[in-house]
């Protein structure tokens, strides 16, 4: 195939993936609302199809540009959605057997892809020599992997806070003596694996059955999922920032220069370190730690988008 054909295939597959994720998102939310098994099957099938299209788009892009296909924001975004959805399908659906939160993940993927086409589209082109480094490859790859993990983790934090407020409301409405079965975020039931991780555990139980958000997993499950993803993403982010520093040392002769992208990746790192501390600090567990994670999410978005769109810096390669 010629370069133009590869480029064409890449953008067709990108669009297919985008529409696939939109469909998967709608069907997933429908499953959350109506709890019909076939809806979940359909959502997963569409999601996997879109994931394949996403992968084809990335590979074809690499073939068109004759290099690894993560050289600019458009390409990062395609890889980011791929990893987020892959991580979701694998860790959340297949391993943790939680099925009702797919709509949120597909939604995040849709937003990421839509941002990519509307703000960052560029054709497949060669790279500047400064970008042509082994460390850059590792740096960019780990930053994208880490972003996808942290992003999905934070998404679960948002859902967790929604669910938690639902549970609290239900608890006070029902005037039950006993608290809801699992108070979110308590370390007492280790968040990384609450007992209700088994198949079907995202069914409503106990007092929260009456909650309006019946479909969502318990807040403890959500909190545990969020923690799993962030705990996985944090060391990867750390590693990615260090590789970036090595690359900067090699290319610009300084490993750190407080340019906006560097500054924001540091801020994100510090905030997620804060999140990990908060989970180990009495009085910060649960809601407060979740709020720290949300700050981390905002910081992640700024690192990923705002720095490129609005804040000028040395990392102009990302245009």
């Amino acid at each position: 195939m010629t370069t133009a054909q590869w480029a064409r295939l890449s953008s067709d597959a990108f669009n297919a993936a985008l529409f696939g994720y939109i469909a998967a998102m709608i069907v997933s939310f429908a499953y959350l609302a109506f709890r019909k098994g076939w809806l979940h099957t359909a959502a997963t099938a569409i999601g996997i199809g879109a994931l394949v299209a996403n992968a084809i788009s990335i590979v074809a892009r690499g073939a068109a540009a004759e290099r690894t296909p993560w050289g600019n924001m458009y390409e990062y975004s395609a890889l980011l959605t791929f990893l987020m959805v892959l991580g979701y399908l694998w860790i959340v659906e297949a391993r943790a057997k939680v099925r009702t939160v797919g709509g949120f993940v597909y939604g995040l993927a849709v937003i990421t892809m839509a941002m990519a086409v509307s703000f960052f589209y560029v054709g497949p082109t060669a790279l500047m020599p400064a970008l042509n480094s082994y460390w850059r490859q590792i740096h960019v790859t780990s930053m994208i992997v880490a972003s996808s993990l942290l992003g999905v983790g934070c998404l679960f934090t948002v859902v967790y806070l929604l669910k938690l407020s639902g549970e609290r409301r239900t608890a006070s409405r029902l005037q039950t003596q006993a608290p809801p079965p699992i108070m979110g975020g308590s370390i007492a039931s280790d968040p990384s694996a609450p007992p209700d991780f088994a198949e079907g555990a995202d069914e409503p139980v106990g007092a929260s059955a009456a909650s309006r958000r019946v479909g969502l997993p318990s807040s403890a499950t959500l909190d545990g999922l969020a923690y799993r993803f962030i705990r996985f993403g944090f060391p990867v982010w750390t590693f990615g920032v260090i590789c970036g520093a090595i690359w900067a040392q090699q290319t610009w002769g300084r490993y750190w220069g407080w340019d906006p992208k560097e500054t924001w990746s540091f801020i994100t790192w510090v905030v997620f370190a804060g999140y990990l501390h908060a989970r180990a600090t009495a009085g910060w567990r649960g809601t407060r730690a979740a709020v720290v994670a949300l700050i981390g999410f905002v910081s992640l978005l700024v690192t990923y988008y705002a720095v490129n769109l609005w804040i000028a810096g040395l990392h102009s390669y990302a245009k």
Binding site: S133, P194, R231, W258, T263, I267, A278
Partner: protein, 540 residues
């Protein structure tokens, strides 16, 4: 923080309180968030070290805020006293936190696992009956636990204590100490280092000394002027471009000289491939053209050497297609004169641009020529690169190609134009040669220069080591879980009654499985059969 309003009555009590506050996890958390918030300010407000021109523009536009920001250090957040204060507090907090933790870790490593008396209170607990006697049971249990890499202590042949997962604390401490080391190494390295740029024309030698740097030279706060004295000779500069004009590679072949001037070795400096020598790192940073020019008045030579030329492209111009500009300043003439040279390295590409209207990159020397413009008057800035024309007036101008010599006053060529010159440059020869005392200029050669970035940062290896330790420590700190298990056996008429209890501090789901298999293994090794009543596995 309430530390400061502690009781005044006893100094030591307040110190203890401050120390305790600093040690608390909450303080660390708040300091971390403050560090993040301060960095946010640093990324949103223009910073003097990164973009002084934007700071100046901001101060012009917003006089009040500008002065507030300047006074409060917002224009240099990462160098401000309050950023240093937060970092210092974090430092102290870290040390305050790490010292007792490290001491506890060492103490725990020396101690054998402690026996427990009541096992039925632990989150995981099983009581069962086995045929073997207590001594066999404890021996088997100890063996099993050791095989699972628990640290094990056996007491009186009736009770076993095992624990595992101290790697978590080791990793966490390694991570935190490494972070501390990282900060210290960065501060020392940046504080005692320097970064600057050297412009070297092919064939020339540059020496690492303060006055030889061009443009801004940044030295650390604790730097005492000990430049390395290294010599760098640029043997050759090369670059390569794709057809599209996108650069592929820039490379400087250099000879490195010891401070005493003796030859040390050769090196190639390319993008992403710096050379390291004598404590400095040398990076490819930029490049340009240097026209070798000889200016004489009659027989008196006024200037002879390469003129380093720079560019001033408009934002939407391709720098490769714009001319290069340099100045020759003739300070000894009265009135003083300056010749501004505008170089077109590739005449063919230039004329193609004129014909097609599309700017063509001039990446190679191909019949190079220059436009020159003579200025006369008073030179205000004899030592600087640019030309301040406020007290000067433009006189003659003309063209000079490589290999020509021109009469600058008359603006015509004495020799040279001919075969190699494009047709449109012809017809400017001086009708009757040069006058005896005319100001003449010749352009014998065109060379390239390379701009190298020179930096000295002594702690880079330590920073790297600390960074590696951070990642290496982080993994067990986040993933290893600490587990403790106890097995006690007491004699029964048919064998022993065995109590097994334990708990995990992290990843409890995994521990439930591990505990169940451990119980099965102990029972089996003690001659029992495994048909546990699920009720027996207590997991409150």
């Amino acid at each position: 923080m309430s530390a400061s309003d502690g009781p005044r009555s006893s100094l030591s009590r307040s110190v203890a309180l401050v120390w305790r506050t600093l040690r608390s996890m909450r303080t660390a958390l708040i300091l971390l968030l403050m560090l993040a918030a301060a960095s946010v300010v640093g990324s949103l407000i223009p910073q003097i070290p990164n973009s002084p021109e934007r700071v100046a523009a901001y101060e012009l536009d917003h006089a009040t805020w500008g002065s507030v920001f300047r006074a409060s250090g917002f224009f240099d957040v990462f160098g401000s006293w309050w950023f240093a204060l937060i970092t210092a507090l974090l430092f102290v907090s870290l040390v305050a936190c790490l010292l007792p933790r490290s001491r506890a870790l060492i103490r725990a490593a020396r101690q054998r696992p402690i026996q427990a008396r009541e096992l039925d209170g632990f989150p995981s607990y099983v009581r069962t009956r086995v045929p073997a006697g207590p001594a066999t049971v404890t021996a088997e249990a100890a063996k099993l636990l050791r095989r699972k890499r628990y640290r094990v202590a056996v007491q009186d042949d009736v009770s076993v204590a095992g624990e595992k997962g101290s790697l978590r604390e080791i990793g966490s401490l390694a991570f935190h100490w490494a972070f501390l080391l990282l900060l210290v190494a960065i501060i020392i390295g940046k504080g005692t280092g320097y970064v600057g740029h050297a412009t070297i024309v092919e064939g020339e030698t540059w020496t690492d000394a303060e006055l030889n740097y061009d443009g801004d030279l940044r030295t650390g706060r604790f730097f005492r002027g000990a430049f390395s004295g290294t010599g760098i000779t640029l043997v050759d500069y090369e670059d390569a471009y794709r057809d599209t004009g996108i650069p592929m590679d820039f490379q400087s072949r250099i000879r490195l000289l010891n401070p005493d001037g003796s030859f040390a070795r050769e090196a190639d400096v390319r993008i992403n491939h710096p050379a390291v020598f004598n404590g400095i790192r040398i990076y490819q940073y930029g490049f340009g053209w240097a026209a070798v020019v000889r200016v004489a008045e009659g027989a008196r030579v006024l200037f002879d050497g390469p003129v380093v030329m720079g560019q001033d492209p408009l934002p939407d111009q391709n720098p490769l297609a714009t001319p290069w500009i340099g100045v020759v300043k003739l300070t000894s003439l009265r009135p003083q004169q300056a010749i501004v040279l505008e170089l077109f390295p590739d005449a063919e590409a230039y004329f193609r641009s004129l014909q097609t209207g599309v700017a063509q990159p001039m990446t190679e020397a191909n019949a190079p020529f220059m436009r020159y413009q003579v200025w006369e008057g008073k030179l205000l800035d004899a030592s600087r690169a640019g030309l301040d024309t406020r007290f000067m007036r433009a006189t003659t101008s003309g063209l000079i190609g490589q290999g020509w010599s021109v009469d600058v006053d008359a603006g015509c060529a004495i020799s040279g134009p001919g075969d190699a010159v494009p047709a449109s440059l012809e017809g400017i020869s001086c009708p009757d040669g040069a006058a005896p005392d005319a100001l003449t200029m010749s352009f014998p050669a065109l060379r390239q220069y390379s701009r190298l970035q020179i930096s000295h940062d002594a702690t880079v290896p330590y920073v790297l080591a600390a960074a590696i330790l951070i990642v290496v420590g982080l993994l067990p700190a986040l993933y290893v879980s600490r587990r403790k298990v106890w097995v006690r056996a007491r004699p029964d008429d048919t064998g022993s009654i065995v109590d097994i209890g334990g708990f995990a501090l992290q990843r409890k789901d995994r521990f439930d499985e591990e505990f169940a298999t451990l119980v099965d293994a102990v029972v089996r090794a003690s001659g029992g059969t495994v048909d546990r009543d699920p009720q027996e596995v207590g997991s409150p």
